[in-house]
């Protein structure tokens, strides 16, 4: 078993890399700041909500874009939501894809939308894996009796 400081260091490094690689932005740290004793699982709750929501949205988007007559307005609404939620948790790269996605929606560019959808899916899965890994680390730290270090 790793020791707590090790785990903590790993956590810090990992988090830093997430920021550095642009998976996350400041909004995520905002979320982290909102978490306290009264709400110990706030970040996880929000993020898992985001995951649920995102999966639903991605499914919707996939369905919407595979229809014969694509309702771009509908697609745009989904993307808008996706963008909103991803920016709310600070999933920066997902959000960035969404911005491009919306532009393609506006242009009613199916190819562009399909590419973006794929990208969004990829980015989502990436950020989900990263975040899950992060939460795992967090759990490990907590299980090891340590406290999750605050990122400043």
């Amino acid at each position: 078993m790793d020791t707590v400081p090790q785990l903590q260091r790993q956590f810090v490094e990992y988090t830093t890399s997430l920021y550095r690689e642009g998976y996350l932005d400041d909004q995520f740290s905002q979320l982290q700041k909102l978490q306290d004793e009264s709400n110990p699982d706030f970040v996880v709750e929000v993020v898992s909500l985001f995951f649920e929501d995102s999966e639903k949205l991605l499914n919707n988007l996939t369905a919407a874009l595979h229809q014969e007559n694509i309702d771009y307005k509908q697609v745009d609404a989904h993307v808008h939501q996706f963008k909103g939620s991803s920016s709310s948790i600070g999933a920066q790269r997902v959000k960035n894809v969404c911005v491009v996605f919306r532009n393609y929606c506006e242009e009613k560019n199916l190819d562009g939308c399909m590419v973006c959808l794929q990208q969004a899916k990829n980015e989502y899965i990436l950020v989900r894996n990263k975040l899950e890994a992060l939460f795992n680390l967090e759990q490990q730290i907590l299980q090891a009796g340590g406290s999750v270090p605050m990122m400043v």
Binding site: L49, K83, S85, S87, S88
Partner: protein, 935 residues
């Protein structure tokens, strides 16, 4: 050559002679007149036939004239001179001929001399030193006087030396001499003949005809020429003696015989217009001795209406006495006609031009006016926007907690602000009325209230000790239908006018019902005492008043309103201009009393637009009375029993009935405020309600509110109603706030109202995904939290996205704030309906109903107090019956927008949002927002 000389001479002479035959003022053309030398051959005149009758001559008189009058004698003298000159000329010519001849002779002599000399030379050549003896000596003797000249030829004597060597045969010379001698003889013979001829000619000359014959010939020729020239000219030439009797007349178109004219005066010959004038004119010339011209129009039986240009010149005797006149008349009737026509045309052109300039001026003025109007309208519009900002701010201010003085001040401020707004609207209205786009509204109103309000408003700004009174006759209906705004506008205008010009005494409004002034349908109304105020009723009433009026059987009641003052009055001469725009009674009125001069014009136009008419009667220094008569439809509801209900509803305090039917109001100025007395009791309180409903703050107990709840069934059928409702609702507002706190504090089940509201909130939350149990629980814990706190602002988050909701909620909790959450605009509207919030955070992009629309609906509710608009937009209110209809103060609504572009922000503001924060929301933003709008 000789002929030419003669020609010139004659011409010169003729000119001189004739110049005196014509008046001095005749131009060059006249002088060119040449009887003697017409320029063509002399027989020219022989081809012409002259009718000689036209000229009628008193020959005796003519002879007299030639011998006695200066002119005549000078003529004669000229003729004689002419003749003499001619004779002289003939002599001169002959002399010249003589000269010529002698010249020739001289030449011949010279030749002869030459020959002789040649001959002499010959002699010398063979005679040696013998003195030469001329063979032709005798010949030399014959010209005794010639040798004088011959001396000139001395040179020729030297020449003979040169000739010397040439000829040497004697025979030749002799033959030659003989030949020359023959020539000489012939020459001498010719000379002799010429001399004889000359003598004969001189003799002839002497024998030639006497000057008289010559003269008469010349005269005849002149006469012929004159006739030739004058034969078709419309001229009359005449001579009259000093008694103005005709002595000579030339008339090409004679209508009278010689005996009818000669020896008679004009007046004796014919009668009619102009005859006397011409006679007088001739006499005048005769007396003054100066020639003159005059145009005289004759109107005689003899030749009808004709105009003559008459030239009259006096004729003087040799002693310088006037002995008569020459006169010449030319008929210029046509010319005069033409001239007159021309003059008329010119006049017309001038008039036309004047009109044109006038029109141009008018056009210019109109254009200017249009521009000015445009500018005025634009300006008014520009002024209106910021001013309404000021007024609405003041209105908002009036809903805050203020002490009595402040309220009073605010009330005046509001009423003035309203007035200014109204004025600006007036200006806009005026242009609307003028361009015919003014629309009148038909609303129920109570005349008594209107009168009271107007008087009250006037009293509020009263600066003098004036009594303002309102008398409303009993027969005036409680409620009528009309455009109350316009009527108020008219009344306010008239009242303020009256007050302005009244220094002491009172200003009165009297209201009474009169009989239909146009009983037979819509006729032209009678002309009012001032011409400019003729009102045109037909048409205006139809399109301006109410569409259904003409065919409706609704009772129309004509109400007459007098606005009477005891002011300075209006001078009678100012009355006609009184209702004109920018006109005031006197030039100094504006200076003294100010004002734009627009008020009465607007009043008049409005009254006429509504189908009535406005008149004025005034006595200077005693006061004026403005009277307008307007048709009003009767409000049916007014008579019904339900309307008493309505009034009963608002009878939250005493005396409402009194007030409604009260027919007498009196206001006296007291400092800033005004006391108000009427025959009703405790009006003051009620009265304030009517002026500006929003300022009313009345404390009410729970009982009141519950009663109100029960009775506030939506009655949006009439605007009047809703207005009343407003009044009532506002009264609740303050109380409501208190009640709200109470509800939050206790969630008292006793207060079913807030219980419901609470339920709704819970329901809202429950509608969210069930898997968000934590949220639900948190929401319930919120409630507890809130319950603990003393007074927390109530915040509503409208957000469709759970992640965002969760984040925002957490942030709020961080900020120690609770909030309700709904998921779309429609829910937000329902939430606002059921609960009073201090702040709404509104997502813009949402399903079902977006934030913009929701905001709009909420704002509409705040303004009108009803949710009509929301219902129209499809928001259903499940618990509608229990929901309160209360306008509230403006809830701050903050947009939460993902795309923070300025365009979007603009959209937010346009829809009534107060601010916006960009998503993702962070703590900082949220905190700032709360600080700004809640704390």
């Amino acid at each position: 050559m000789v002929h030419d000389v003669e020609d010139d001479r004659v011409e010169d002479m003729e000119v001189e002679v004739l110049s005196s035959m014509w008046p001095e003022d005749i131009d060059e053309a006249g002088k060119k007149f040449n009887v003697e030398k017409p320029g063509v051959h002399q027989d020219m005149l022989e081809d012409l036939t002259f009718i000689e009758e036209p000229s009628i001559v008193d020959f005796k008189r003519l002879v007299e004239l030639t011998s006695y009058s200066e002119k005549g004698s000078s003529q004669l003298a000229n003729l004689v001179k002419n003749w003499e000159y001619k004779q002289e000329n003939a002599v001169r010519l002959l002399r010249e001929e003589l000269d010529n001849l002698s010249k020739q002779q001289h030449e011949v002599e010279l030749k002869k001399l030459e020959i002789l000399e040649q001959h002499r030379f010959e002699e010398e050549s063979y005679g040696g030193d013998k003195r030469p003896v001329s063979v032709l000596d005798e010949v030399y003797e014959a010209f005794q006087d010639v040798p004088k000249r011959r001396t000139d030829v001395i040179v020729e004597e030297d020449k003979r030396l040169e000739i010397d060597a040439e000829y040497d045969t004697v025979v030749y010379w002799k033959q030659r001499a003989l030949h020359l001698e023959k020539l000489l003889e012939a020459s001498v013979q010719r000379e002799q003949i010429l001399l004889e001829k000359l003598e004969e000619s001189i003799e002839n000359l002497e024998k030639q005809a006497s000057p008289v014959e010559e003269l008469s010939q010349i005269l005849k020729r002149a006469d012929n020429f004159l006739h030739f020239v004058l034969q078709n000219a419309p001229v009359v030439i005449g001579h009259q003696d000093k008694e103005l009797r005709y002595r000579f007349i030339y008339n090409h178109f004679p209508s009278l015989g010689e005996e009818d004219i000669i020896g008679k005066t004009d007046t004796e010959i014919f009668k009619g217009g102009g005859v006397k004038e011409s006679q007088d004119f001739k006499r005048e010339v005769l007396e003054r001795g100066l020639p003159a011209k005059r145009e005289i129009t004759f109107e005689t039986q003899l030749f009808g209406a004709k105009t003559f240009l008459i030239y009259v010149e006096p004729v003087f005797s040799k002693d310088g006495e006037t002995i008569g006149v020459n006169y010449m008349g030319m008929e210029i009737t046509d010319q005069v006609k033409k001239r007159e026509k021309m003059a008329k045309l010119r006049e017309e052109i001038a008039v036309q031009k004047a009109k044109e300039t006038e029109l141009n001026k008018t056009i210019h003025i109109t254009e200017e006016t249009m521009r000015a109007k445009q500018m005025l309208a634009t300006m008014s519009h520009e002024i209106r926007s910021p001013l309404s900002g000021v007024v609405s701010m003041a209105e908002i201010l009036s809903t805050t907690k203020l002490n009595k003085d402040q309220k009073e001040l605010l009330r005046v401020m509001l009423s003035s602000g309203d007035l200014v707004l109204q004025l600006i609207n007036d200006i806009l209205d005026l242009s609307k009325v003028e361009s015919g786009v003014m629309k009148l509204e038909a609303t129920k109103f109570r005349p008594r209230e209107v009168i009271k309000h107007v008087l009250q408003t006037a009293a509020a700004s009263l600066k003098r000790m004036l009594i303002l009174e309102g008398h409303v006759a009993d027969d005036v209906p409680l409620e009528v239908i009309g455009d109350v705004l316009r009527i108020r506008q008219i009344l306010t205008n008239l009242i303020s006018n009256a007050i302005k010009f009244t220094h002491e005494g009172k200003v009165q409004i009297n209201l009474c019902v009169i009989a239909d002034p146009y009983p037979e349908g819509h006729q032209e109304p009678k002309i009012n005492m001032d011409d400019s105020s003729v009102s045109t009723k037909n048409g205006v009433l139809l399109n301006g008043h109410e569409e259904n009026e003409p065919q409706s059987h609704e009772t129309v009641v004509w109400i007459r309103c007098d606005v009477k003052d005891t002011g300075i009055g209006i001078p009678e001469n100012a009355l006609p201009n009184l209702f004109k725009k920018y006109m005031q009674a006197g030039a100094d009125t504006a200076r003294k009393y100010g004002g734009t001069g627009l008020g009465l014009a607007i009043c008049k136009q409005l009254v006429e637009l509504m189908g009535g008419h406005l008149t004025v009667s005034s006595k200077e220094h005693c006061g004026s009375t403005f009277t307008f008569v307007l048709p009003h439809k009767l409000s049916h509801a007014c008579d019904g029993s339900d309307d008493t209900d309505e009034f009963g509803d608002m009878a939250d305090n005493e005396s409402s009935d009194d007030d409604i039917t009260c027919g007498f109001f009196q206001f006296q100025p007291h400092a800033l405020g005004s006391t108000f007395s009427s025959n009703g009791s405790a009006i003051t309180h009620k009265d304030r309600i009517n002026v500006t409903p929003k300022e009313i703050v009345s404390s009410m107990d729970e009982d009141d509110s519950s009663r109100f709840d029960a009775s506030s069934e939506p009655e949006s059928s009439s605007k009047c109603n809703s207005e009343n409702e407003n009044t009532s609702c506002i009264k609740k507002e303050k109380q409501n706030d208190d009640g709200l706190d109470l509800a939050v504090d206790s969630c008292s089940p006793l207060d079913h109202r807030f219980h419901n509201a609470g339920d709704l909130c819970v329901a809202c939350e429950a509608r969210k995904d069930s898997n968000r149990s934590s949220e639900c629980s948190s929401s319930s814990s919120n409630r507890q939290e809130v319950a603990k706190s003393e007074r927390k602002p109530k915040i509503l988050l409208v957000e469709d996205h759970m992640v965002n909701v969760m984040v925002a909620r957490r942030m709020m909790r961080q900020l120690n704030q609770d909030m309700d959450v709904v998921n779309n605009g429609a829910e937000a509207v329902r939430a606002v309906q059921s609960c009073s919030y201090d702040l709404i955070l509104m997502d813009v992009c949402m399903p079902v109903m977006d934030g913009l629309e929701a905001t709009r609906l909420i704002r509409s509710f705040e303004k009108t107090g009803n949710w009509d608009e929301a219902r129209k937009a499809g928001v259903d209110f499940p618990s509608y019956d229990q929901v309160f209809q209360e306008p509230r103060k403006r809830i701050p609504i903050i947009a939460m927008t993902a795309n923070a572009m300025s365009e979007s922000a603009e959209e937010c503001f346009q829809n009534g949002m107060d601010s916006f924060i960009t998503k993702p929301v962070n703590l900082q933003n949220l905190k700032q927002c709360l600080q700004q709008y809640v704390e």
